[in-house]
């Protein structure tokens, strides 16, 4: 299957979404008249967009449905049973929540952790840069895919602080604090890295989440690093 480059994709998209000027539209339609492959691409993209719109419409209909609840006089026996079931579900849910509720470390981590948004990606698919692929996966929350691609690149460039930082971030985003730590600490120790401060903060949070309070307290922030004050506040809450 041949690739469809981004400019062509976006021209087709503009045509399907009726966002072309009259002249451009005419020229595009003239080209379509003789270009069978382009015509096929237009039809495929039109249907894919329609599929996405159908998904949205069905979601919208579900929301509208919720505004028209069922009448109470139907199925009286069933609704009574449902009430008891609902009460039971609430009780069970409450018990489960109490049993499984996050501990203080996890609560503090959740309160202070904001995932790094990643680096901008500005390339087309045909360029095939693995780093950008990995960064797109990172931004989409496909943590394992991102880690796999960053790790492969790290083998080729073992000194890269960028790769280590984002592997650590992806591990932390995926909830694997212990696996994030070695990567983040390695970057935090590189004083000249542009990621050092952020890596130090994320390493601190990873330690908080892991419950290693002493190690978290041992993380040293630079005097002018605002994360230092935030870290002290977290530690005081842990006490």
């Amino acid at each position: 299957m041949s690739a469809l480059d981004k400019p062509t994709f976006e021209r087709i998209e503009a045509y399907v979404l009726d966002r072309m000027g009259a002249d451009e539209r005419l020229a595009f339609e003239q080209r379509m008249a003789t270009d069978h492959a382009l015509r096929a691409e237009v039809e495929l993209e039109r249907e894919n967009i329609l599929a996405i719109e159908l998904g949205g419409m069905e979601r919208l209909l579900k929301a509208a449905r919720a505004e028209h609840p069922e009448r109470r006089n139907e199925g009286g026996g069933l609704s009574t049973w449902l009430k008891y079931a609902a009460v039971l579900a609430v009780l069970l849910g409450g018990t489960l929540w109490f049993t499984l509720r996050p501990n203080a470390n996890e609560r503090l981590f959740a309160a202070h952790f904001r995932p790094d948004p990643g680096l901008p990606v500005v390339m087309g698919a045909t360029e095939g840069h693995t780093f950008h692929d990995a960064m797109v996966a990172y931004k989409l929350g496909d943590h394992d895919e991102a880690i796999g691609k960053f790790t492969a690149l790290l083998k080729e460039d073992p000194a890269s602080d960028t790769l280590r930082f984002y592997i650590g971030c992806a591990e932390l985003n995926a909830g694997r604090a212990e696996r994030a730590l070695p990567m983040l600490q390695a970057v935090a120790d590189q004083e000249r890295s542009v990621f050092a401060r952020k890596a130090r903060w994320y390493a601190f949070l990873a330690l908080v989440r892991s419950g290693d309070r002493n190690a978290a307290a041992a993380v040293r922030f630079e005097v002018d690093d605002p994360n230092g004050a935030k870290a002290r506040a977290v530690l005081s809450e842990l006490n």
């Binding site: 967009i49 996405i52 159908l54 949205g56 069905e58 919208l60 579900k62 990606v121």
Partner: protein, 224 residues
Amino acid sequence: MLVGQAKRLSATGTCGTWTGLRIIVLRFFLPVEARDNEPLAEPNWATGLRCNDAATVRALYKQHFPAIRQYVVGNSGTTDDAQDIFQEAMTVLWLKAKERSLAVGSEPGAFLFQVAKNKWLDVVRSAAHKHMKVVHDEGRLDVRAETPDDTEEKLQRLRSVYGQLDEKCRTVLDQFYFERKDLATIAAGMGVEEESIRTIKYRCMMKLRASRRTIAGEANTSGT
């Protein structure tokens, strides 16, 4: 009926982001010669559906669901059944509006009722509901063409395509193609750069394209 509720319509009938005020402007200032040369104007409710307008959907729901509920409940169904049937009928109406294939002068209430009635009669006549008694069954053959099989097949195919998208892609693509938000708005909402959203959208659409081409390729291979 639904006057002024349709939105996102430009003078050429495209969907964008605009408010009902622009409808008023268009109505009063469209050149006379342009109106004379145009075919019958698309009704606002059809434009609203075509532009995925939430207010239009809610208004259609509010206005036309009661008749369908009455029919379904009067024919051994429940309000829940009526909701299911009405939603399916609304989806058919939406698709027709999208494809601009609604007959001239189509009235949404009549269309929805006919489609919903056919669908409910299919349910009632199915093996699981043979014990039900149909009270209103007149004129069924006359309205069968409202839900041709190819519409149902197309809806199933589209649902299957949508099902191939993961949650992250849906988040971006829904906002761009369904809600018609611009890239900058989506980027601001997700806390990333506009160019990243543009690339993510492209990548997600290419994934969809690749999977559909693979399926099509497999179908062709198995057919030879």
